[in-house]
Symmetry: C2
Subunit: 234 residues, 2 copies
């Protein structure tokens, strides 16, 4: 059984959508248990619409604080100790749950994750990764919005984390690492991509060079590395 804490309060469409998501998850996979974190009375009301008698694999953990979408990430995480994001990540920290999922304030989730769970040794910055699914393959893209003004060393670390993820989560052997850029040649791009190119070239990773955005969909790499600013801009 995999137990997942879900930030019931997070997201642009509020508890209605997150609770519905939880009910779909337990229906689809009988090895998933969900702990909905948030305001009990609201969650119960939404849950009753779908499971009037509740569900054996859905629990509610009440908290009456939440971080709004437009709040300052670090300040809100520090001030609202009982916010659903903080509570959910503490459940991960104490191993009560296997994972925490939130569609809420991205910056607050990242800040709380760093404060509560900490960082992997020798990794300077956390990254947000997403998996694009093509016809027959999966492509990991990171960072997609956790960091701006990246240094080349950050991008190198994203590549290392992406490499582990692609190997151990997606099961890809020797995953191909590509650097998102405006041209294929090594001298293309800005100072960040040129310096990162040199780091990746000299690494033990299976670096396949620069990848243009239009080529991502042509399966030129299993992992795409980029600064968070350029991706969220589009």
């Amino acid at each position: 059984m995999i137990t997942i804490a879900l930030d019931a309060m997070g997201g642009d469409f509020g508890p209605g959508m997150t609770v519905k998501g939880a009910t779909l998850a337990v229906k689809e996979n009988d090895q998933i248990k969900v702990i909905l974190v948030g305001r009990k009375e609201i969650i119960e009301k939404e849950l009753n619409l779908i499971f009037p008698k509740g569900h054996p694999r859905i629990e509610i953990l009440h908290t009456d604080e939440e971080i709004l979408m437009d709040e300052s990430p670090i300040l809100s995480v520090r001030r609202k100790k009982k916010a659903s994001i903080n509570i959910g990540l503490k459940l991960v920290k104490e191993k009560t749950v296997d994972a925490f999922v939130s569609a809420g304030n991205t910056g607050a989730v990242m800040a709380a994750a760093v404060l509560i769970l900490g960082k992997i040794p020798n990794i300077e910055r956390p990254a947000i990764a997403t998996v694009l699914t093509l016809d027959k393959s999966q492509i990991v893209v990171l960072d997609i919005g956790s960091n701006v003004d990246c240094k080349p060393s950050y991008l190198m670390e994203f590549a290392i984390m992406g490499d582990y993820f692609a190997q151990y989560v997606l099961g890809i052997e020797k995953p191909r690492v590509g650097l998102l850029n405006i041209g294929e040649e090594s001298e293309k791009g800005n100072s960040l991509t040129r310096a990162t190119y040199d780091l990746l070239k000299d690494s033990k990773l299976n670096f396949v060079g620069n990848v243009e955005s239009k080529d991502i969909l042509f399966n030129k790499a299993d992992i795409i590395i980029c600064d968070g600013f350029i991706v969220i801009c589009y």
Copy 2:
């Protein structure tokens, strides 16, 4: 009559496409005269397919050098003095033509423009602008690929040039200047956008703040300012 020099050799699809474009232009607008710059025998062959007897408003200016798409911009512009890009821009410089158009090596066109035509006083870098046409309005976007690693002062200058273009070419009064960013709030973005925000805010331009890419199409600004790297990445 407007006389336009056209780089007949430039572009991914070669003289066939550029010559065809020239024939369409003179058919559509009887106030346009085109000077096709490039290898005469190839241009004539293509032109004969459409106008077997030639056309009174299409001339050919022969040159047997051209810059290829993958050549180093600055080196090729300096070495190939008779390249169609250099010849076409010299026609602008000596006022033989009103404008020069090339679909060729973008970096070479920019480099040759700076070397031959020079820069506007107090403007540090040239920018490439494009005009997006929406239902009822036109939006100038710059820089779309001439500069990477921009400084805030470059973006400020792009805004000033965009402002003149929108006023005097597109006829927009008090054009609204927007800064392409990942969120609307002034503190959003990276160090470049935050510093540029402050410069634009304190300027005499009609600065309307940050604009997210999805909002460009909702007509939130008449001019969109950005670093060339982030646009050509997508």
